[in-house]
């Protein structure tokens, strides 16, 4: 125990005196979490609170084009920028290249007549004979010019689909409105009263979003709840850069040679290193969570709500730190140069993070990747953190994840032991 204590003190002193190392281990992860959360939060804000600029060219002179513009405005998702329909054809393209807007729609000149014709044909079919083959054919052959939606290639598919969905709803509302008007007129021989029209078209049953929570909490998870735990894990595993290269340097140093001739086992040094770096990773996580909880609201980011089960949070953090330290030591044992350990360490953590669902959510991954992700310790750690942070779970709810993470850690330790023996280091 005396040797272990002396080694812990030695490692802590070396660590504290390495200012660059401290910056790498504490400042950089905090910066990473703040940047990622800010970026993700702005994406969330863009979709939910901020408005996407939409360049709109209404070439229709009739009432339906104007109605569609109003319906789009009503969605609340867009900041509409009118485009001059009398301008040159490539005006939209020029303005989009100038990034005035990343998305644009063109309402064709015959939009009103097409909508009205279609509504009249549907109303006729509904009132006369819905099964009439003539009326059916008449409806299906009625040609309508499509709405054109231009998008900038930098716009990701998920954004594009959201916008397309919103535009579809607006068109649907428009079409519904026209059909209701025609039907009402055909039945009552007068125009539909505005309040009834509103009730028919917009009196939809509301959808209330409820996040599933083990505590029954209805707090909607924000960007911080999603991103802070995920990127904290990433930062903890990035200790591979510091510890991995320390291991490589120590292996090739004279001090290691001397340690091998001393009466104590080198395994004591590795055990001590694990204790020191578990402490380091624990402090990293504590610092990041504290910043998320206390500082984020002051810098315009959503607050990170800590889980109710703090002992559970501590245990998940300690096991994650143990796994991260074990992985770094393993990389340090097998690599021969710091270039190897830094390169392999960084890229392997990125791969494990991608596999583990940190970069793309696990549910969005293909089926075969959902099986492979189980080998990534970051996956189990993320699942455990999400269980606590997002689902309001307790230790018992994430115990399986913790045990899986501990199992992977033990495998890494055995691999390290094999490497130490193979390389005649113990």
């Amino acid at each position: 125990m005396h040797t272990v204590t002396a080694t812990i003190i030695k490692d802590l002193k070396i660590l504290i005196r390495d200012r660059m190392g401290l910056i790498m281990m504490f400042f950089m992860p905090v910066l990473l979490v703040i940047v990622i959360t800010s970026v993700q939060n702005s994406t969330y804000e863009l979709i939910n609170n901020n408005r996407i600029t939409l360049l709109a060219d209404n070439r229709d002179k009739g009432p339906e084009g104007a109605r569609l513009m109003k319906a789009i405005e009503k969605i609340g998702m867009f900041n509409i920028l009118p485009s001059d329909s009398t301008g040159p054809d490539d005006e939209i393209s020029i303005r989009m290249h100038a990034k005035d807007a990343l998305v644009a729609i063109v309402i064709p000149a015959d939009f009103s007549s097409s909508i009205q014709n279609r509504a009249t044909r549907i109303a006729n079919r509904a009132l006369q004979d819905p099964d009439s083959p003539v009326l059916k054919k008449d409806l299906s052959t009625g040609q309508t010019d499509s709405l054109l939606m231009y998008y900038h290639p930098v716009m990701q598919q998920s954004f594009r689909l959201s916008i397309e969905g919103a535009l579809h709803s607006a068109v649907q509302v428009m079409q519904g409105e026209a059909i209701v008007r025609d039907l009402y007129h055909a039945i009552n021989n007068k125009s539909v009263p505005p309040d009834l029209e509103k009730d028919i078209l917009f009196g939809q049953i509301p959808i209330t979003e409820i996040p599933v929570s083990r505590t029954g909490s209805r707090v909607v998870p924000n960007a911080s709840q999603h991103n802070v735990p995920a990127w904290t894990i990433f930062a903890m595993f990035f200790v591979v850069i510091t510890l991995g290269s320390t291991m490589v340097k120590e292996k090739s140093s004279g001090s290691f040679l001397r340690l091998k001739t001393l009466p104590s086992s080198y395994l004591n040094a590795l055990f001590s290193k694990q204790i020191v770096y578990v402490l380091v990773t624990f402090l990293q996580a504590a610092l990041i969570f504290a910043i998320g909880n206390l500082l984020f609201p002051h810098i315009g980011l959503p607050v990170l709500h800590l889980p109710n089960d703090i002992p559970g949070l501590i245990l998940v953090t300690l096991v994650t730190g143990w796994c991260a330290a074990s992985y770094a030591i393993c990389v340090g044992v097998f690599c021969n140069t710091t270039e190897q350990s830094n390169g392999f360490g960084a890229i392997s953590i990125l791969i494990l993070a991608a596999l583990g669902g940190l970069l793309v959510p696990a549910f969005a991954m293909p089926a075969n990747f959902q099986r492979i992700m189980r080998i990534s310790p970051l996956h189990w750690s993320l699942e455990a953190y999400y269980g606590l942070f997002l689902e309001g779970g307790k230790l018992k709810d994430v115990l399986t994840n913790i045990l899986s993470l501990a199992g992977i850690t033990i495998c890494i330790q055995l691999l390290t032991l094999y490497g130490l023996k193979k390389k005649n280091l113990i």
Binding site: K10, K13, P263
Partner: protein, 248 residues
């Protein structure tokens, strides 16, 4: 008859996955309390032999006994009997000499009281008392060599292996180191020393062995060898027995 400090019998060794046999049937004995020098050109096998004697390399054929304990099946308890001062600086430059000695003292199995006492003693003897709390990376080469030596003798070993302990140091540091080594020897520590500083070696070693191509060429008292080979100094003896051609 006293137990030899080192007794090597019929030692054969080659590095794994290498065809070249480093040692074949090598025999060597170093008496307890002796100041013994192991010399030879580069590649002669001195460092390999030193590493085998300190347990850094494993051998399969033959025997190396340190104070009658077989090195190959030694456990860590045998390591308490010897100290090692490698040619490379073997300490943590980010720590002070005081902190280095505390750390290595713990690894030697010394208790806190003894660590403190030995640290104060060694720092004073080796002229590091006033810089005991300064980081070693700020030291000169000579001071670093003295720290390197202090760590190797922290636990007062019975046998001390020294691999080029004075390389790259000034005259003052060399003098202090050699003087201290002689003092240690007078207190009963066997010195097993290797160096290319032949003049220094002449003043330190009582008995020497000259190695070349994995073999012991000669092994006797220095005075006897000089007389036998009609040489005035170790350098002449060295060149006479190993030739003048480059080995690396």
């Amino acid at each position: 008859m006293s137990i030899p400090a080192i007794a090597i019998r019929s030692l054969s060794f080659s590095y794994p996955k290498q065809e070249v046999i480093q040692f074949k049937d090598l025999n060597l004995e170093v008496e307890d309390g002796e100041r013994f020098g192991l010399f030879g050109p580069n590649g002669a096998g001195k460092t390999t032999l030193m590493n085998l004697m300190t347990g850094l390399l494993q051998y399969k054929k033959g025997s190396i006994r340190l104070l009658s304990h077989e090195i190959s099946d030694h456990a860590k308890s045998v390591n308490k009997l010897f100290g090692f001062v490698p040619q490379d600086f073997s300490f943590y430059p980010e720590l002070s000499p005081d902190e280095n000695l505390s750390f290595f003292g713990a690894w030697y199995g010394l208790d806190q009281h003894r660590i403190k006492k030995r640290t104060a003693e060694l720092l004073a003897i080796l002229g590091l008392g006033e810089v005991g709390n300064r980081m070693v990376h700020t030291f000169s080469g000579g001071m670093k060599r003295r720290v390197n030596l202090a760590i190797g003798v922290m636990h007062q070993p019975r046998v001390l292996f020294l691999d080029e302990p004075t390389v790259g140091v000034d005259v003052q540091s060399r003098h202090a180191i050699i003087h201290y080594l002689k003092e240690l020897n007078q207190q009963g520590t066997t010195l097993i020393y290797t160096s290319h500083q032949l003049e220094e070696a002449e003043g330190l070693c009582e008995k020497i062995a000259l190695m070349d191509e994995g073999k012991i060429v000669v092994h006797d008292r220095l005075g006897v060898l000089l007389e036998q080979h009609r040489q005035e100094g170790l350098e002449g003896l060295f060149l006479g027995l190993t030739g003048k051609h480059f080995r690396d």
